[in-house]
């Protein structure tokens, strides 16, 4: 879950933020002054920081600089004052955004989404590693025992769908529609041909696959914890 740290000394605002953020499935921690806020930053390692400039013990820009000294976490600044110079100072100190009170909660949440969207260019794990196969979804690259494996476009698309749904069973219909298009759904032939290609390129023993498993009558499954092909009798799933 996404973690948010709120540093603010005004109880009503703190309470409103905590309720609204929690309602949107954020994990919220809070601090009431700059010193404890910096300590909380180091301790909790939040994914984003919401910081009120009007703290009792420190100047807001000092808090920003303290954070920026070691972290590049997104910082959204809140402020009750409309002073433009304070805004500029905070932004130039390293803040990512600045919201003036009173603000709408919807707007703050939207700016939060922007900050998080930018901070995470990798929405999902781009690299999947099994015993001796490594699949890099971002680079569109497959390594087997450290060596590059050349895949054709169709082979790659098929592998990508399976890896994105790793450990899960993918039906033939779903595979056909995601790789060949929505009008396909019955051409089980294609799957058999291309699964054979993939197994020949990736499996040590193509006829006894460890990673690219067949689920008879239903579909296929890419499994990471590829145990040896169990001899008849030792199956336990």
């Amino acid at each position: 879950m996404t973690r948010v740290l709120v540093i603010d000394d005004e109880q009503p605002i703190l309470r409103a933020l905590r309720i609204n953020l929690a309602a949107h499935k954020y994990e919220v921690s809070t601090a009431a002054d700059g010193a404890s806020g910096l300590a909380a930053m180091a301790r909790d390692r939040p994914d984003v920081l919401i910081l009120d400039l009007g703290l009792p013990d420190m100047d807001g820009t000092e808090v920003i600089k303290g954070v920026r000294g070691w972290s590049s976490v997104p910082i959204i600044v809140l402020s009750a004052w409309g002073q433009e110079s304070a805004k500029i100072a905070a932004l130039d100190a390293g803040a990512d955004d600045y919201v003036t009170k009173p603000f709408g909660m919807g707007e703050l949440l939207a700016r939060l989404r922007v900050a998080l969207r930018r901070a995470s260019p990798a929405p999902d794990e781009p690299v999947i590693t099994t015993g001796d196969i490594t699949v890099d979804l971002a680079a569109k690259r497959v390594l087997r025992a450290g060596a590059d494996v050349r895949l054709t476009p169709t082979e790659w698309q098929l592998l990508e769908v399976l890896v994105r749904n790793r450990e899960r069973l993918v039906t033939q219909r779903q595979l056909l529609q995601e790789v060949w298009g929505p009008e396909y759904g019955t051409e089980g032939n294609y799957l058999r041909v291309y699964m054979a290609h993939l197994r020949r390129k990736l499996e040590a023993d193509p006829s006894g696959p460890r990673y690219l498993r067949t689920e008879p009558g239903i579909g296929y499954r890419f499994t990471c914890a590829g145990s040896e092909v169990s001899p008849p009798g030792g199956r336990s799933s």
Copy 2:
């Protein structure tokens, strides 16, 4: 110099922005409606976009989506209306920041600095060296075996995109859109011609490229650890 594109239909604001931005050493281009704004985006390739939501011909979020379809340049939205729903829609459509009129020029400039600061995550080596090729992204120079290589503008742009995504597979569509513009996407011809140019200038054996690899049916990849072209041996298909 940093290039800024301003899309706004109100002449006074356009004028004020042009003067202030030019005074801070930005290179400013302008457009007065959404359609010509999108065209200017493709033509001028600015480093940041300032967009007014109240355009005469298109909805602001449509402009944002049109840009986001092929570019990730920072977008700062201006708006005369205080409507929170419009803010949220713009931010979720892909905008990076939102400033409500009337705004202070100092604040806008500070938010501009934030957007640009974030957009240039190039503190890491702008110089990439492989076996005998050195690419200096900052100086826009290419050395091969220590000697300067003259590239035409298009050749350089193509090489730059590939090197920025080194080791990663870049699709033909992405290359075409980043080099030629968003309206291109199917002209695979251009890529073949210019890849041939680059290979002739950079590769020892242009027909057996070590660095500028083709991924048939998908795109191209610049690879640093350029191993020799694998001699035909383990191929079976």
